[in-house]
Structure formats: structure tokens, C-alpha cells
């Protein structure tokens, strides 16, 4: 109750209420997230069950077009799956991979950045060079190698089951240095402040100072880049899937849907690519807009003058 009151009087809420773009983005994002979480409940078809769809329905156009069917609002894809349901499931996969990859990145990156910034010295040099090396390898190459090795090791058959954790790790591994560098930079700024010195003088151990005193003071930039990173991870996943390195078509993400439809775009079945593409754009756009708003709110220099 107390924290609710604190939240109710906070600048965060105040500025949120006065920013129509933020409100709109937040609403759209919440709807998309809720829909994708509730996918099995609200979608008309279970697209993961091949018994529920019929190849004869393939490439049915959206309901309002000629040849459209009432039972497939946005038409069907090349396998006869209801496109709307497939998209919702696809969004779910994209969201899962995006959030999962960001959590992975943040976990690794914050840990590395904190240790590197707070302890400094040789460890700092070592960890930051590893981050540089990681940064200099394009994630596409990592993805190609990893999935090739993976398919070799576990067989192509198991790829569909393990694609989600695999993609989380691939995207997470390629982006953690961003967190590490951001956190390290803030830690370097914070660790020389007097409250850290005061904590040392009080006799608190360095680990405790590190996670209890320094870490919370470095989280503002982490919060801001996290929003951008979620958008970026979703896009990376879509790009990988588009290139055929991501989610298999039996369990499509938005990216693999776009790719699957892409081949049919000139034969007139534009909807298979268009609707997932539009959903991806909207999804990324609202995340980025919210991220912009959050960055402005969390930067005291912008409103305190």
C-alpha cells in the first residue's frame, strides 16, 4: 500500500499521464503482450497441431477479399494455417526470445560490468577485451556456426524443440558487451563517490558494497537500454528467422512467417508477409517509443534544468 502511494505520487506516473504517445504505446504493448501470453486461450486455431489445419485451405485471402473465408479473418498461409492465430503464436515466440535474450544479456553483462568496473585492474582489462572480441564478431556468423554445430550434434530433428533456448543464447551472447560497457562506465562513476567510501569506513565488505550500494545506482541506464535491447533482440530474431537460421516453420516466429510468405508475395499472396511484417513493425515501434519516454523521465537533467 505504501509503495502504491509512493508510485501514485511519483514523477514517473505524472509524466506518463501527460504523454499521449507513451500512453498509446503502453496500451498497444500491453494488449500485444496479453494476447501473446493468452495465445492458446484466445486463438481460434492451435497452429502447432497439424491435425487442425488442411492444406486445401492454403493461401486463402483475408476475409474481406474475394475468395476469402469467414473462418480465416486474415487469410491462411501456404500450409493452410489461420494466419491470425499463427501470427499470435509467432508474436509469442518472438516476445519470448526477445525478453529471454535480454535477460540473458543483462545477467551476463551486469555481472561482467560490475566486476570489471568495481575491481578494476587486470580483471577489468581481461573482461573488457573479451567483450571487445565478442563485439567484433557479427552475430550472424555466431548464429550460422552455432546452429550448424547444433544441428550436427543433436540432429536436425531436435532443432525445432530447442530452437528457442538456442536463439536466446545466440542473441544474448552477441549483445552482452553492451550491458557490460554501460554498467562498467556507471560503476566507474559511482565507485569513487563518498557514499561508497563511507560504506567502506563503516566496515561493510566489498561484495556487499558492490551489489548493495553500487549496483542500484547504476541501474537507470540499464533500464533504458533494456527497452531498446528487447526491440533489437526481437529484430535480430526476425532477421535470423528470415535467413532461415531461426525458428523453424512448424513453430514460426514473426520472422519465419515473413520469410515463408516472402516467396509467395509475387504470386499474389501478399498477406502472408504483410500482416506479420506490420505486426512486427508495430511491436518494435511501441517498445522504442516507450523506451524514449523512459529515457527522458529517468534523466533528471531534462526536467530539473
Amino acid at each position: 500500500m505504501k509503495s502504491w502511494n509512493r508510485f501514485k505520487n511519483s514523477y514517473l506516473l505524472y509524466s506518463f499521464k501527460r504523454d499521449p504517445v507513451a500512453i498509446l504505446s503502453f496500451c498497444v504493448l500491453s494488449i500485444l503482450v496479453i494476447i501473446s501470453i493468452l495465445a492458446p486461450v484466445i486463438t481460434p486455431y492451435n497452429t502447432y497441431d497439424s491435425a487442425t489445419f488442411d492444406i486445401m485451405d492454403a493461401e486463402t485471402p483475408p476475409a474481406w477479399m474475394e475468395g476469402g473465408s469467414k473462418s480465416f479473418l486474415l487469410g491462411t498461409d501456404i500450409q493452410g494455417r489461420d494466419l491470425l492465430s499463427t501470427m499470435i503464436y509467432g508474436l509469442r515466440v518472438s516476445l519470448l526470445i526477445g525478453v529471454g535474450a535480454v535477460l540473458f544479456q543483462a545477467l551476463v553483462g551486469i555481472l561482467v560490468g560490475l566486476l570489471s568496473g568495481y575491481l578494476g585492474g587486470k580483471l577489468d582489462a581481461l573482461l573488457m577485451r573479451i567483450a571487445d572480441i565478442q563485439f567484433s564478431i557479427p552475430y550472424l556468423i555466431v548464429a550460422i556456426f552455432t546452429s550448424a554445430i547444433f544441428k550436427l550434434a543433436f540432429g536436425v530433428g531436435r532443432y525445432a524443440e530447442l530452437a528457442v533456448p538456442l536463439l536466446i543464447i545466440i542473441i544474448g551472447m552477441s549483445e552482452w558487451p553492451k550491458y557490460a560497457r554501460t554498467v562498467r562506465a556507471s560503476v566507474l562513476g559511482e565507485k569513487n563517490k563518498e557514499y561508497v567510501e563511507a560504506a567502506r569506513v563503516i566496515g561493510i565488505s566489498r561484495w556487499h558494497i558492490m551489489y548493495r550500494h553500487v549496483l542500484p545506482n547504476t541501474l537507470t541506464p540499464v533500464l533504458v537500454i533494456s527497452t531498446i535491447q528487447v526491440a533489437e533482440a526481437v529484430m535480430s530474431e526476425a532477421a535470423l528467422s528470415f535467413l532461415g537460421l531461426g525458428m523453424p516453420i512448424t513453430k514460426p516466429s514473426l520472422g519465419s512467417l515473413i520469410r515463408a510468405g516472402f516467396e509467395y508475395i509475387f504470386s499474389g499472396s501478399w498477406w502472408i508477409t504483410f500482416f506479420p511484417g506490420a505486426l512486427l513493425v508495430i511491436f518494435i515501434l511501441v517498445i522504442l517509443l516507450l523506451g524514449d519516454w523512459l529515457r527522458d523521465v529517468l534523466n533528471p537533467k531534462l526536467y530539473k534544468g
Binding site: Y195, A198, I202, G203, I204, R212
Partner: protein, 321 residues
């Protein structure tokens, strides 16, 4: 009786790329239980380094190169880090200059206090809260039950410094080192904090080392005073006698430099020149280039800190007889 704190020939050096700087050059002093000592000097005289040396927290590249620090019979500069940590903040507390900076902005006052208690004492969380409330009352914070849930930015500067003092008191230390505790505060709050420190030292029988550049403050609350210049003690003794009858020309300069009420338009006194950079400490008496009474011996021979009368007055000056 054994002294609470005894510093013997303490020497602190900073290892830099071009060689070593001597920040503190062989200082010695003692402090008894409940005694209040002032360390006075300009910026860069080594006052704060002395404070940090006592709790063995000199940051790299500095280190204690010689000397002994005896606290309650233990040699602090030889203690391993984990034992030292149980003394720091427990038997010896430190108060810093800027209360805006010494409290963590993202934690409530209560959290920071409880954390300190739990770091040193084997008590439950609710007992820790009681201790925190009790200490907040001791430093005259109104409605501590409310304050304990607030964040540092919700308190005024004087309030924050009192909270910092309360944190220093949490574990009933035997010694408090206050490093310019009132420099960042305005004059009325300054007096309030000083009165508070004085009162607490008397009621809790705590030793106090007050590090400051303000001889006025020192004369109000300390019993003994050390005047430092370029890492050395130039004069020491009972505060009253030093303030009323300064012997060393540097102490005299410092006392004259306290602004009093002067006719409008007239100049304030200042000691000519600047404290030398530690890389270029002059030969002989390090104060001689700025001294008004120096003679040729001053630029060649380092004056020893010797007693010039019977009241434990020590002065390091060739010219004082």
C-alpha cells in the same frame, strides 16, 4: 593508563610513476578515552590522510610506509583486512565532510543504518531498528520513526549530517574521526553539529579527532590540537594555550587569517604564498618560503618538533626560543 590511540612516527607515502611522495612525514600523537583532538592545517597538509591512515583505508597508490598505530593495544596497520573491518565502523567511526554525498541516494535511511548495525553486531533486525531509532533520538532528529523510512534527498543538509553522526554512533565507537564535518554546512547548522558532537563525546566517553581548517571550531570543542603543514606537525599542545599564545609563525598566520569584524574596505589577512606541492617541498623548514621571520638556518636545516615550555607545547621552529 594506556592511551586509546597512539600514533608513532607515522609515515604515509604515495607511489607514483615518477617516484614516491611523502604525504605524512613522521607524525606522532596520542589520544585518551573521551579526549578531543583537533588536527588543523591548510588543504593538502595531510590531515585527511592521517584520518584514513588510522582506519587503514588509504587508497592506492598510497600506503603506510613506516610507524605504528596502536588502538586499544592493537596495532592497526598490521591487522589483516577482515579484522580491520570489524574495527572500522565498530570501534572507530568516521564522519565526512559532505552529508549530501555520504548517504547512498537509493537506500532509505533506515536501511543504511540497519545494515551498519547488522554488519557488526549479532542482533535481530527488529533490535537493529530499535538501536537505529535510539541513535536518531540521540542526535535530536524529530520523529525518527518517520525519518527512518525516508530517503536522503528528503532531508535537509543539517538533518543529513546528524543522520551521518547517528550512523557513526550506532555501534558505540570508542573513537570518532570527523573529517571536516561542518565545512559543507552553514554557520548555524555548523554550531549545532559541533554542540552535538561535544555533547555526545562527553555523555558517551568517546574520543574525537576533529580534522578541520577552522581554528575557531577547534578552539570551541577540542582539548588538544595539532597543527600540520606539508605532512609534518609544526605545533601541538593544549588547545587553549595554542590558540591564545601561538608560537609557530604558521599557527599565528592561521589564527590571524580567521575573518573577524573589520572595517569595510580593509583587506583580510592571508598567509603569503601557497602550501608547497608535495613534489617540491622546500629544503629545510618546509614553511620558510612563506615565513615572515625566517633566517638562513631555516632554508637548510629541518627544525625538530621540541618542547618549548612546560605545558606539553611542541613547536618545530628554529626561531622560537
Amino acid at each position: 593508563m594506556r592511551h586509546l590511540l597512539e600514533v608513532k612516527d607515522l609515515e604515509v607515502k604515495f607511489a607514483l610513476w615518477f617516484g614516491e611522495l611523502t604525504a605524512i612525514d613522521g607524525i606522532s600523537f596520542t589520544l585518551d578515552r573521551g579526549e578531543r583532538l583537533g588536527i588543523v592545517g591548510e588543504s593538502g597538509a595531510g590531515k585527511s590522510v592521517t584520518g584514513f591512515a588510522i582506519i587503514n583505508l588509504i587508497s592506492k597508490p598510497g600506503y603506510i610506509s613506516a610507524g605504528q598505530i596502536l588502538f586499544e593495544g592493537q596495532e592497526l596497520n598490521r591487522l589483516p583486512e577482515d579484522e580491520m573491518r570489524s574495527i572500522r565502523g565498530n570501534r572507530i567511526s568516521m564522519i565526512f565532510q559532505d552529508p549530501m554525498m555520504t548517504l547512498n541516494p537509493v537506500l532509505t535511511i533506515g536501511t543504511q543504518m540497519i545494515e551498519t548495525v547488522l554488519a557488526h553486531e549479532n542482533v535481530s533486525k527488529s533490535e537493529a531498528v530499535d538501536i537505529a531509532l535510539d541513535k536518531l533520538k540521540k542526535v535530536h532528529i524529530p520523529s525518527p520513526e518517520k525519518r527512518i523510512h525516508q530517503y536522503p534527498h528528503e532531508c535537509s543538509g543539517g538533518m543529513r549530517q546528524r543522520i551521518v553522526v547517528a550512523i557513526a554512533l550506532l555501534t558505540n565507537p570508542a573513537l570518532i574521526i570527523a573529517d571536516e564535518p561542518t565545512t559543507a554546512l552553514d554557520v548555524t547548522i555548523q554550531a549545532e553539529i559541533m554542540d552535538l558532537l561535544l555533547e555526545l563525546c562527553e555523555s558517551e566517553k568517546m574520543g574525537l579527532i576533529l580534522i578541520t581548517h577552522d581554528l575557531g571550531v577547534v578552539s570551541q570543542i577540542t582539548e588538544k590540537v595539532i597543527v600540520m603543514y606539508a605532512g609534518k606537525i609544526v605545533e601541538s599542545g593544549a588547545t587553549q594555550s595554542v590558540v591564545q599564545d601561538p608560537k609557530h609563525p604558521y599557527t599565528r598566520g592561521l589564527l590571524k587569517a580567521i575573518p573577524g569584524i573589520i572595517p569595510p574596505g580593509s583587506r583580510l589577512y592571508q598567509i603569503p604564498g601557497m602550501m608547497p606541492n608535495l613534489t617540491e617541498i622546500p629544503q629545510g623548514c618546509s614553511f620558510h618560503p612563506r615565513c615572515t621571520i625566517s633566517e638562513s638556518i631555516c632554508s637548510t636545516e629541518v627544525p625538530a618538533l621540541i618542547s618549548k615550555d612546560q605545558h606539553h607545547r611542541m613547536v618545530a621552529c628554529h626561531m622560537v626560543k
